[in-house]
């Protein structure tokens, strides 16, 4: 009795939940109405079957519950009824499958006029490549991947010279134009998902997968990785800006071609040395750092990281509210006129003799090891040297007190929450692996032990 009532109420409750819940598909931004329609058809067919079956179940439980003197009817089979039900079910299945298969045929057949772009997934960042004027992407190979050629584009391939390289998790697309994404990975499986586009596909190392869609709505949409790709899976984020064709073209024009990335003049170390004079008063003549002035050690840090952080300070991505010392750095970084000046300083810093900074933090090294090995080593490497591949700076032998402040900044939202700090955002999430100042000190102490 109670069971019959509860089942009936669960059916009613599920329907009510569906209609009052604010949780449903986000508004579409691609011309995949046919997918949304198939979902609706399926929703109604299955919804009706759900209601019919369960209400009938509740009715049976209520009506035929045990009663004195009542006896069950002996009816082993009812051929007609069973055939009828099979036919009814088959019709329902066809009603759902047919629109599904037709839509899949659309998805499988990429329109001829679709333009192409490439998505490259690697632990745990997105990068993109667009064909140049020739409309063709150059061939690429994992074996050719290096810091200066992150896509592994073959330098011998003439088609690749004008390829446009976007070494940044934010990509742009023109609205109202069918587009095919070519998906590649350098390491593990990833999955390129933009919820508003409705379609997703895995990136598989060793082969190229594709998907296509036609953006219909302007806006900025998140790109998520939706195939488990290791410990940083949940921080592998990107964004796509859908905009009118002219704005897209203008943006694309600001991005370097492959040839340009390969032919960059070598940085001018002498010019860097001159510019460094302003840095030396705090960071020291040899980049050894000065805790009293809140200036971390620079010697030994990788140039790509110094460059990125200087640019962040210049653009105000770092050194925002609450970051008192970062604000000081914004003023100094602003003195570097252009990208070349930033590169020159970074190159000069790379020439410094690297001696490990003296430890100032103590903590439980074993616990520090445990946390570091489980959560940090995947990017910063077992030896704490860091690597461009995972966008992770060197930690070993660097200023431990600076490490502690920065982790605290990540945890308190002072650093990493700027919308353009795509890499800092990852650290905001990962820094939660340390529960408080004690564990931060433990990890710092462990990193110190690596330099011994």
């Amino acid at each position: 009795m109670a069971l019959a009532v509860v089942i009936f109420l669960l059916v009613i409750g599920s329907i009510v939940f569906h209609f009052v819940s604010p949780w449903w598909f986000t508004e579409s931004a691609a011309a995949w109405d046919s997918i949304d329609n198939t979902i609706l058809v399926t929703f109604w067919v299955t919804g009706i079957v759900f209601i019919l079956c369960n209400v009938f179940l509740a009715y049976c439980v209520f009506k035929f519950r045990k009663k004195e003197g009542h006896k069950a009817v002996y009816e082993p089979e009812n051929h007609k009824l069973e055939v009828g039900l099979s036919v009814f079910t088959t019709i329902g299945v066809i009603a759902m499958l047919a629109p599904g298969l037709f839509t899949w045929a659309e998805f499988v057949n990429v329109p001829d006029e679709a333009t192409q772009f490439e998505v490259l997934g690697q632990q745990w960042q997105w990068q993109y490549r667009y064909p140049g004027a020739d409309g063709q992407l150059g061939v690429a190979d994992t074996a050719l991947v290096s810091p200066s050629n992150p896509f592994g584009v073959n330098p011998e391939d003439p088609n690749g010279q004008d390829d446009i390289i976007v070494n940044d998790p934010v990509m742009h697309l023109p609205v109202g134009q069918p587009i095919q994404a070519l998906l590649r990975s350098h390491d593990v499986l990833h999955n390129y998902t933009v919820a508003q586009f409705r379609v997703k596909m895995d990136l598989v190392p060793g082969l190229m997968s594709t998907l296509w869609f036609e953006p219909t709505r302007e806006g900025t949409f998140d790109i998520l990785c939706e195939e488990l790709c290791g410990i940083g899976h949940f921080v592998m984020r990107g964004a796509v800006v859908v905009e009118p064709q002219e704005e897209f073209d203008a943006w694309l024009a600001t991005q370097p071609t492959f040839a340009e990335t390969q032919s960059q003049p070598a940085p001018n170390v002498a010019a860097g040395q001159a510019a460094y004079a302003a840095c030396a008063s705090c960071h020291g003549q040899n980049g050894e750092g000065n805790q009293a002035l809140n200036a971390p050690k620079l010697a030994g840090q990788q140039a790509w990281y110094i460059e990125r952080q200087l640019n962040y300070f210049k653009q105000g991505v770092r050194g925002g509210e609450g970051d008192t010392f970062g604000q000081q750095m914004r003023a100094f970084a602003g003195m570097l006129a252009d990208d070349a000046a930033v590169r020159n300083v970074a190159a000069y810093i790379e020439t410094f003799q690297d001696t490990p900074a003296a430890p100032t933090v103590t903590g439980d090294i074993d616990n520090g090891y445990d946390i570091y090995d489980r959560n940090c080593a995947a990017c910063h490497l077992d030896n704490g040297e860091g690597t461009w591949y995972t966008d992770a700076p060197k930690l070993t032998g660097m200023s431990d007190w600076y490490f502690v402040t920065q982790i605290q900044n990540f945890r308190s939202g002072i650093r990493g929450l700027h919308p353009e700090d795509d890499y800092g955002e990852q650290m905001v999430s990962m820094a939660t692996a340390m529960s408080g100042i004690e564990e931060i000190n433990d990890v710092a102490a462990y990193i110190n032990s690596l330099a011994q």
Partner: protein, 596 residues
């Protein structure tokens, strides 16, 4: 082949009677003891799996609330939860536990055909569990590659447990498959060769049909996983490249080339999809018998039910790539696998109709086993229908890898089979223990489990509609997921903790009742099937005393017109009670005795 050859040699067969308590309870060759051993080990792993789920639910509902749950632990917990629940808990409990207990009794046999191999099977299973659990204690911890163990990340820096954890997982799986194969051969041969006189295949209870077909599936499906596990071990330990293409690990190219990550996925799901039915078909069978017994009515459409089990089993081998619609395999596969997947809905739906129609015009006893069985029908309808979303290839594009998938498969192969397990454990508890359980506590256990589970999984589908991705340690900020999704996550976690704690009622009930439960009378439910007709309760070693039973009818003679009681045991001769031979129905007609 002669009809029921082994049953006719009853007097010549050796029975392996135990000589001391070690042979009786530890290294026993009695299928009933082995069943309890299998079941207990499986339930132990289930408790570990459940505990892990509570932990990672805490992280999802209340991020950072538990100190030791860092991203590393989170991925290890979800991985181990998945593998434990699917393989070591559900598969082992249904086949090793219920298969062992029920097959000989329902077939009117004294034991399995190969009792010694049966014993080896359970001890091998124990070894696999020990290897699996050992991975919690090795450096780097257990693997966190996701329960599907997709390469190339399984053995790469950046994946938790990529050194020892994954190796132990693969070895444990290989050992488990050896155990399952020894058990499975036994179950299949026993069903085919060891049935008592008069027991044709089409007179078998659906429990035996479900377990039998599931066993055949296991024998065909597990080798694919074994091969995949061994090849992955080679990749990991010997540096081969079965599944490893040229990849970069933390900036350095690895010494692999030409392997195919997709090949692994095909092998895994060639096992993985039948695996769903390895769990589901025994549940279908067990629940059919519980429903029929307590509705005091024959199972409706028995022949349809049998053929549905066989059809689902067969089809389950040609739907595997519906797990791979967005894997990057050739998209043309989508047409084929979407079609086969939706076809499987037809026999499955027929089973649901027939369960409900079994209740129609019945005389339903609403006791605890029946509560669970009816609860199962509800959750299975729900889980089955959401499968039509994911199976229909284009709908999988937005929903794949979201919480919709999690909600779907937990409804259909988590909650539903587990409700059947409870129904079955309560239903057969008097047979196994000779005692009755506490009915009130059992019903309370039902309400908390059933309503709690629905409170977990109904809202979870809506997280999926929103597009919340699975396997995220924290969701962080997105432009399309509202903050309210986090509140929903918190509510789900609270429901999950509730359900987990409610299981204490179950354990208390079955342990307390062992000693203090009311003594069960013989055949307390008035069941027609053979397992309740043993001379002793619980049945003794050898099951049947002096003489094996002879079967005269099918297992569902309930409320037969003209009979003395509302059930007629299978071993009651035609001369004592009527047999019904309507023009619509003749269960023995299709399967002539000659071809058994």
């Amino acid at each position: 082949m002669a009809y029921v050859p082994l049953a006719d040699q009853d007097k010549e067969m050796e029975m392996h009677h135990p000589h001391n308590w070690v042979e009786e309870y530890v290294f026993s060759q009695d299928h009933k003891v082995i069943a309890i051993q299998y079941g207990s080990i499986a339930v132990f792993t289930g408790i570990v799996g459940l505990t892990l789920s509570v932990l990672f639910r805490l992280q999802l509902g209340f991020p950072e609330s538990v100190d030791f749950i860092d991203p590393n632990f989170y991925y290890q917990a979800v991985t181990m939860h998945g593998m434990i629940m699917v393989v070591y808990f559900l598969t082992a409990l249904f086949l090793g536990g219920f298969g062992n207990y029920m097959i000989p009794l329902m077939c009117g046999a004294r034991d399995m055909v190969f009792p010694f191999m049966n014993m080896l099977s359970v001890w091998t299973f124990l070894i696999s569990v020990i290897i699996l659990m050992a991975s919690f204690f090795v450096g780097g911890g257990p693997t966190g590659a996701g329960w599907t163990l997709y390469p190339p990340q399984t053995a790469m820096e950046g994946t938790p447990g990529h050194d020892m954890g994954i190796v132990l997982m693969l070895i444990s799986l290989a050992v488990f498959i050896i155990a399952t194969t020894m058990g499975g051969l036994n179950y299949a041969v026993t069903v085919l060769q060891y049935r008592c006189r008069g027991l044709t295949m089409m007179r078998l209870p659906l429990t035996v049909w479900g377990i039998f077909v599931a066993t055949v599936l296991a024998l065909f499906a597990f080798p694919a996983l074994l091969v995949a596990a061994i090849m992955m071990l080679f990749d990991t330990l010997l540096g081969t490249s079965f599944f490893m293409p040229a990849v970069i690990e933390a900036g350095q190219p690895l010494d692999h080339n030409g392997g195919s990550p997709l090949l692994f996925q095909h092998l895994f799901w060639f096992f993985g999809h039948p695996e769903v039915y390895i769990v589901a078909l025994p549940a279908f069978g067990l629940v059919s018998d519980v429903l029929s017994t307590h509705a005091r009515k024959n199972i409706f459409g028995y022949r349809m039910m049998v053929w549905a089990i066989v059809a689902i089993g067969g089809l389950s081998f040609i739907v595997w790539a519906h797990h791979m619609y967005v894997s990057g395999m050739h998209p043309y596969f989508g047409f084929f696998f979407a079609t086969t997947t939706l076809i499987i809905a037809v026999p499955t739906a027929m089973k649901v109709y027939n369960w409900v129609l079994t209740l129609w015009e019945g005389d339903i006893r609403l006791n605890a086993p029946m509560y669970f069985a009816i609860g199962f029908i509800f959750t299975f309808i729900h889980g089955g229908l959401t499968g039509l979303f994911l199976g229909n290839v284009v709908i999988d594009l937005p929903l794949s890898d979201t919480y919709f998938v999690i909600a779907h498969f937990h409804m259909v192969m988590g909650v539903s089979p587990i409700l059947v397990l409870f129904a079955a454990i309560y239903h057969w508890y008097p047979l196994m223990s000779g005692r009755m359980f506490n009915e009130k506590i059992a019903k309370l256990h039902f309400w908390l489990t059933f309503l709690g589970a629905y409170a977990i999984y109904l809202p979870m589908h809506y997280l999926g509609f929103l597009g919340v991705p699975r396997r995220y340690y924290v969701l962080g900020e997105t432009d399309f997921i509202p903050m309210s999704a986090q509140d929903l996550n918190a509510a789900i976690t609270i429901a999950a903790i509730f359900v987990a704690v409610a299981q204490l009622l179950f354990f208390w009930n079955i342990i307390w009742s062992l000693k203090h439960g009311k003594k069960a009378e013989k055949n307390p439910w008035g069941s027609a099937s053979l397992e309740w007709q043993t001379p002793d309760l619980p049945p003794k070693h050898g099951n049947w005393g002096e003489d094996l039973p002879t079967v005269y009818r099918w297992a569902y003679d309930y409320s037969v017109p003209g009979a003395h009681e509302d059930f007629i045991p299978q071993n009651t001769p035609e001369s004592v009670e009527p047999t019904v031979d309507t023009e619509h129905f003749d269960p023995d007609h299709d399967q002539s005795k000659a071809d058994i």
